[in-house]
Symmetry: C2
Subunit: 399 residues, 2 copies
Amino acid sequence: MKKFAISTLLLLAALTLSAQVREDFKPASTNQPGHQYPMVNSQRMVRAQISAPDAKSVKLDIGGVKYEMVKNSEGVWTGDSAPQDEGFHYYQLEIDGASVPDPGSLYYYGASRWGSGIDVPAADEDFYALKNVPHGETSEVYYYSSVTGSVRHCYIYTPAEYKKNTNKKYPVLYLQHGGGESEHGWAQQGRTGIILDNLIAEGKAVPFIVVMDNGSDVYGPNNPRPERPAQGQRPPQGQQGQRPQGGRPGGFGGFDFAGPFRTILEKDLIPMVEANYRVIGDAQHRAMAGLSMGGMQTHAIALANPKLFSWVGIFSGGVFSKEEVDQTPGFRENNKLVFISFGSRELQNRFGGAADPKPITEELGKSGMNTVFYVSPDTAHEWQSWRRALYQFAQKLFK
Amino acid sequence: MKKFAISTLLLLAALTLSAQVREDFKPASTNQPGHQYPMVNSQRMVRAQISAPDAKSVKLDIGGVKYEMVKNSEGVWTGDSAPQDEGFHYYQLEIDGASVPDPGSLYYYGASRWGSGIDVPAADEDFYALKNVPHGETSEVYYYSSVTGSVRHCYIYTPAEYKKNTNKKYPVLYLQHGGGESEHGWAQQGRTGIILDNLIAEGKAVPFIVVMDNGSDVYGPNNPRPERPAQGQRPPQGQQGQRPQGGRPGGFGGFDFAGPFRTILEKDLIPMVEANYRVIGDAQHRAMAGLSMGGMQTHAIALANPKLFSWVGIFSGGVFSKEEVDQTPGFRENNKLVFISFGSRELQNRFGGAADPKPITEELGKSGMNTVFYVSPDTAHEWQSWRRALYQFAQKLFK
């Protein structure tokens, strides 16, 4: 009886929903070549489809919600999500209890896995659209780290003019991903190279180099992974604005934000970059930014070594307070910019009653620091907030 | 009764098989970070595992065979394949009729899809192992093609010394993937950068640049995709040696091997590379090679424009016959090397009674051409054959 009532409710809900669905679905830009599904409509609903003739239940799992899909007579399942925010979202399919990537989508690393991703069209998507402008290069770089005792992998973006102006030296941004992500995040779903190419082509940003390394996997023979790996203790990278925002980051599984990654930066990564690329090797031409966990790393490293970076950005990962800056000799003198950003939905649903980051940043600004507080409209703790943050931050850098 | 008989047979087969299985399985090198499954044992059997508590049937689909997996009391399915060849294999899981990537593996493009891949350890895997040697860079490059009217994506490998020797110019190899694959193939599962880094570090290859473009997607506004796309007509990229090998390639869905891709090479790709990289821009310092369909393209383009490349390689994709060379003015005078390779299993199971490629190549060699005929031991139409072919070919190039 209870089952029947729930089924009826679901049916009614489905009917109500379907009555409102605009049938203008188009294949997502993030689909595999030649694939029609998943699709997105003008309400930003995601429609997934998969052939699973013998399955009992197939669900679309996106934004922390699982949507039932429905089977047709050919064994093909189709289902729609509720409207999603603009921009990029991780998702999976659940087939008879197995959580798997959708064979229709391209794959991205996030939520501690390689899995499906979908880009929901956005009103401002032009700034990260691939265009016929001069393109820089995003290179896969391997380098040996004495800190980890292993060969590490990172991405390095060089602007289009880098190859031509062979006597010019460039400033560098070290740009970090979030928890459950990796160096692939900014290079792929972050669209860093495309955003920078477009900004530089329009004259809105000065050309600079971007280094994207892995701030989570800081382990190797010289720095063994702890018995209870930090990886497993980290909260999954969700899509909704439920992250720490203000003040000092707390637990995060005992992960040391200014620990091994700071040492890798100081001893291995920055020296490798400055030895191999035409780089202006001083703090005034060196920036660090990161999203979420990467922002917490930026925060911790900038306070631990205030002479390393003169330009710092935290995207959805906390703030620098006036107290912190005042307690850190050299920070104020060396710093050129403190950039703080959040998705607007993160500010609405503040995590655990954390302090409002806006007045904290304004107080720092009034004390004489150059601060920018940016809010991404109608987005949460998700990539569209961070693409927009990079777009804003890049225009302020090294000027 | 029939069902019972089949079940009994399957059970007996499973018991027979399991009696022989060595329980020394280890996680594959191609697994997602932190994932234990899939595994491989010393018999080169692949063991997959996935949680699918509500599924009726889960299969491991590898090498053209589907292996039944078995559910335990926690709803976790496990299953073993027969022994596989050494090297890289595409695979999928089938869950209640849905063919999906294994959430445990990294993903690769092949068989016309992004899906699971697994590297089976090989006796000679040292040549493609990541080591602490000077590393070149594999860069993602976007360029505008007048032929397609679109911005195209390719990978360009530059050797480690490229950044240091800023006055030195380098030879270039244009290296093409197979049918159902893309520019990602050589950059990822082909391990091109790693193979070259190791060869150059050991002094076995001269440093050169490698350009990996997409030879299948040659379409865009200026060259619209045909109504019945060639993509869909191509045979899937299998793992067993069932490919055309000798003589002129036949149908392949009407795909023109020396068509749009030749024009892209001549008008857009080679000029872009020679304008942006320090390259010796003559045929004597320009090579082309490809696997399977990419070999057929190399064959067709080298015969259509014999002055473009002085060094040519066909990996599992045909031969150059003495007749073809004699009928192509300029080919013999311009050519420095004709390299032909196959997996040994391809030669054993020759497709459709095609001519034996070895005597054809020997005849060409006796006529005064510099030829190499290489056979990869105990491999089929698969990546281990092509990694080994590249390893051999690279040592002969530009010397």
